[in-house]
Symmetry: C2
Subunit: 221 residues, 2 copies
Amino acid sequence: MANHDMHREWASKTRGQEDSGHLADSVAEILDCAALCFTEMGFQGTSIDDVARRLGATKGRIYHYFRSKTDLFFEVHREGMRRLMDAVNSAMSQGGTGREKLLHMIEAHALTMMQNTAYEAVVVQGVHMHRLSATTPEQRVSLDELMDIRHRFEQLFVETMREGQADGSVREGADVSLAVKGLLGAVNWMAIWYRPRPDETPEQQQLIARHVAELQVSGIA
Amino acid sequence: MANHDMHREWASKTRGQEDSGHLADSVAEILDCAALCFTEMGFQGTSIDDVARRLGATKGRIYHYFRSKTDLFFEVHREGMRRLMDAVNSAMSQGGTGREKLLHMIEAHALTMMQNTAYEAVVVQGVHMHRLSATTPEQRVSLDELMDIRHRFEQLFVETMREGQADGSVREGADVSLAVKGLLGAVNWMAIWYRPRPDETPEQQQLIARHVAELQVSGIA
DNA sequence: TCTTGCGACATACTCAGTAGTATGCGAGGT
DNA sequence: ACCTCGCATACTACTGAGTATGTCGCAAGA
């Protein structure tokens, strides 16, 4: 019970300023291992013991910081979304026409997917879970919160695309909402097929990301 | 063991000509319910008892026709892929330039996604599972087989796009493989966000499908 | 007509795995 | 000397896949 409150405090702390202790390291380490396990074996397919084993520890350590398996999953998801948001927000705030901004946003999104495969694969999984009715009452609150963030994320693209239509850099007549769902789908799907080559340089990653973004903006014809 | 062989025979029968008995109905009914359960609660989140309950029956009925839960899942997946393949193959065989064919193929794919939400959601889930290392030796054989079909499916798009580049209807310079992964991602992502409106007519569905296809071919700019 | 066999399930188990808990325990700070 | 943090250990209770066996109806042969 005291434990329980501590977790929540923790969540807000990490979201705010980084605590300069070993605590943050320990939590981050757990999140990293959890992200890998969830990515490789899925949420239900991963047992807490799996994560613990990967940590070289036992359940005790995990349950000391997280109330439940679901809580752990959501925290990984949240971190993944945070990284996505940061990257896209940053790209969006660098001026240009609507079309240019959109291009940079998609590119940033793609690059983040490629550089955080584990976390972002969990994010994609979480979006899937939204359909899933199999959630306890309390978990649904967390899920809804995350889906709200997800929605705001999507709105960033919608707004920028509308901006592009206003300044003439994006063609009119297209259903903006549908177009955004399409391009986000294309990028999110990278979680399925993209695997970093062992010798892949950041420059090569950037090239792929740019290519994906250009295709979504300009099409193939 | 005799049971086991029966299942396999069965699979080939259903893939060939329809048997005009109650057997096919019973199996199809199970597949339908399983597709819904897997879609709503995920593979691991669905218990055989869940499927049975939805059928208004018990485990016995399911295990009479399927060796294991995994087998059931794969059979649903296979059916979903079959429907996709049929639709896309049919669209591809209707002439036109490479670009036109590609447009029709994407449209057919999208429409199939919208008209078979449960089965196709399972297909998407199955593609996810390919990453998952958590599969028993024998299951991996089935999974690999399905991934092979999946790969041939993807190749249909790749070939058609190359055809389009040859006849000048698709622009050169684009990485064909990457482009195909992008557009397939956009369409597959429909499994996440698309829900048929209660009063949605087939014509409206067709419009959405066409729009999605056009966006992928022409881009937004 | 009887019965014999089998197909199509239902019932009643087993048992391994797993989320979550309760408690122990050493180290470091005060 | 004590107390709390940061875990490890040792449970519990339950779920859920798979199995073994029973049962009922029907169809074909004798």
